[in-house]
Symmetry: C2
Subunit: 210 residues, 2 copies
Amino acid sequence: MTGDARPSRSGRRPGTSGTRDAILAAARERFAQTGFDKTSIRAVAADAGVDPALVHHYFGTKQQLFAAVVELPIDPEIVLRQVDATPLDRIGETIVRAVVGLWDSPAGAGAVALVRSLVAGGDVSLVRDFLLSVILERVRRRIATDNDDGRLRVALAASQIVGVVITRKIVQLQPVTDLPLDRVVAAVGPTVQRYLTGDLDAGSAHHPEP
Amino acid sequence: MTGDARPSRSGRRPGTSGTRDAILAAARERFAQTGFDKTSIRAVAADAGVDPALVHHYFGTKQQLFAAVVELPIDPEIVLRQVDATPLDRIGETIVRAVVGLWDSPAGAGAVALVRSLVAGGDVSLVRDFLLSVILERVRRRIATDNDDGRLRVALAASQIVGVVITRKIVQLQPVTDLPLDRVVAAVGPTVQRYLTGDLDAGSAHHPEP
């Protein structure tokens, strides 16, 4: 760690923002090249020419460093802790309440901007990778059984949550946009619950299997 | 109708593409200003300085004119006819099969481009208006009852369909992207069916009503 780069408590000491930017630039490059899983704080620190402790000091965990790189306006850990603390048979409504509630909060405006730029042609692969290896993975581990790794289940749950957030916040389709959160949870929670723990092939009874 | 603007069978006669473009420009302006419902072919023709018959000749119905204006790569009438012909208790799977099937078809690539530009900051209001007054309205009329106008139901169904299409085609989240259409229909059809004809407040049993 260079003396010059060590931040003061106020964060205003000269050199601080340059070091922070160098770490962010190195992390952006690493995450893009090797994905979230295979990127280490140590490698990012080496690329930026700083001590790994400084990366932790500025950004916290690897997950938080990633959130800073893609300018996530929301700390996903807030949602993940709520999900971890919920019994499996209530997990659908908990996820919908936590995610839609966050998008309804002031931080949601930044999330809307992020989604717009991603869908417009930003680096979707990086966020998809993070979604898969951090957010969905944490839910997947809870629902996986010997016969079902849960990958399809969490991806289907994500499809409904992405859809309700885009409909409510970006397309602003009424009456979904103005629907009180409790009613969103009542309507959409059972969908997410079924995707995560219910019968996924219920609809195929009408069709002969190919 | 001016003799100059009347198109030949080959569509290559001089003046044809200019007239077509003038109609498109007038339609774009009208639709943006007064919305889909209140725009008439007659008004578009007047703005473009041509006979209404010429607008019909080039573009067909008002719905088809709109599709040309927003460069819809898919004729929504194809989906709507399939939905019209389906009994209400099968409508969920029919809609999912028709819409996701269309996005899987070669025309889907154009649809992906349209969604990207819309979400990035294009004129969402015009497409939302069309979605509400043409596509969702046609389904809404079939499911409306004396006690329920069906507006929330079709918007929720749209949220799941938007979500599955974005997850499958734009974010490309596995295993949803490679899931055979039949399994998408089996998994997502019951969700759309419940939104359109089922109990929307099933999830609220756990929560006291506010």
